[in-house]
Amino acid sequence: MRESESWTIAYSAILSFVCAASLTVVSSVAKPHFEANKERERKGLTLRALGIPIPAGKTIEEVYAESVKTGKEEGIFEYWKDGRLQSVAFDEDGQGLWGVIVAYVALEPDLAHVRSIAVYRQEETPGLGAEIATDEFRRRFAGKRLVDDAGALILRVAKAGSAAPDEVDGISGATLTGEGVNQILAKVAERARALRRARGEGGGADSPSPRG
């Protein structure tokens, strides 16, 4: 009986159903928590990139709701304080060694200098390329010039130990990961240029609009 074909089929069906049902239950219980964790992580990284401090006694969510405005375009986050724009972050991706690197790059209101970056998703080699997600690597970008007055990209991740003053030192042994970050920087420069142009056309007096 146990080895009969009909029992084999019935048994497979019953067991599969039981397993699938129990996984469905577990997943529906866990999913809201998981989504909340992911969202909190994303918000925390946005705050970090924009350079927004988290005062003691406040949660990431509260600070985010108070200070961060999403721009008109998708993937743009603005930090407003006392009615003034403090920094603008762009959500961009690039191709690393093992997978896609997704990062927030935050610029100063002049849209030319970098405030900070925060790598949001990466699958680089632990101990090598994955170091791009560390604070130490993030700090290398602070205050660097992303684009020159004509809007051309000047900032890039150089090979480790060979960075010019305008560039950022890469991680030794992770040159391809650095190239992925460079792709992100190029895309951000492109979007920053578009945003500056849009501002110039809107009659904004505070930004020099280099239209060629």
Binding site: Y11, S27, F34
Partner: protein, 201 residues
């Protein structure tokens, strides 16, 4: 029928699944850069092996012989996914650090090996003990290798600096070769203290 203590003793050292049977190496090499990750991985394996051994044993008289291995994998996968979901919901940081390795427990030879070699032929209670003993042996090796690698490789234990900063961390130990060296030493010590029948020539 060997009880809990006998099982733990056997698989803890004399017939340890990692150092004597050389099973489950992929994860043992991958997650042992930090003690915390190794502990979570060990707990995951204990949970999965006990759960899969219990359920495989419970349905052993109903399972057609032809599809028994598929059934074993199905049950193992179910427990692995449950653990992964709990981790993602409750310990998000750890789940991120372990990355794909929790999911890869499905292919861990120790789990499948115990289901096929023991649970499919034995009653539920001994099967649970057997699962625990093996997974505990695996966890012990993981913790030993992770301690060795984290302390000497980064000067820390459980992410806390314990060696003086003057100590220059041995980077090799944090990278993949460090796991081979640590595990190799353990296998050597294991064979030297308790030679197994397979070890002789």
């Amino acid at each position: 029928m060997p009880g809990l203590s006998a099982n733990v003793k056997t698989f803890f050292w004399k017939n340890n699944p990692v150092t004597c049977q050389i099973l489950g190496l992929c994860s043992a090499l991958a997650v042992t850069t930090q003690v915390r990750n190794a502990l979570v991985m060990s707990l995951a394996l204990i949970f999965v092996t006990m759960g899969s051994n219990l359920t495989v044993s419970l349905v052993r008289n109903l399972t057609p012989g032809r599809i028994r291995m598929i059934v074993e994998v199905l049950l193992i996968a179910t427990f692995v996914i449950i653990f992964d979901q709990i981790l993602k919901a409750r310990f998000y940081d750890i789940s991120k650090e372990l990355g794909p390795y929790v999911g890869l427990i499905i292919t861990n030879c120790i789990v499948m090996g115990r289901a096929e070699a023991f649970a499919i032929q034995n009653r539920p209670i001994p099967s649970i003990f057997d699962g625990f003993g093996n997974a505990f042996g695996y966890g012990f090796v993981l913790m030993a290798v992770a301690t060795f690698r984290e302390v000497l490789g980064s000067g820390r234990f459980w992410k806390v600096q314990i060696l003086p900063t003057a100590y220059e961390p041995c980077l090799t130990l944090v990278l993949a070769p460090g796991a081979f060296i640590g595990l190799g030493l353990l296998v050597w010590i294991g064979k030297a203290i308790a030679p197994t029948s397979e070890g002789g020539n």
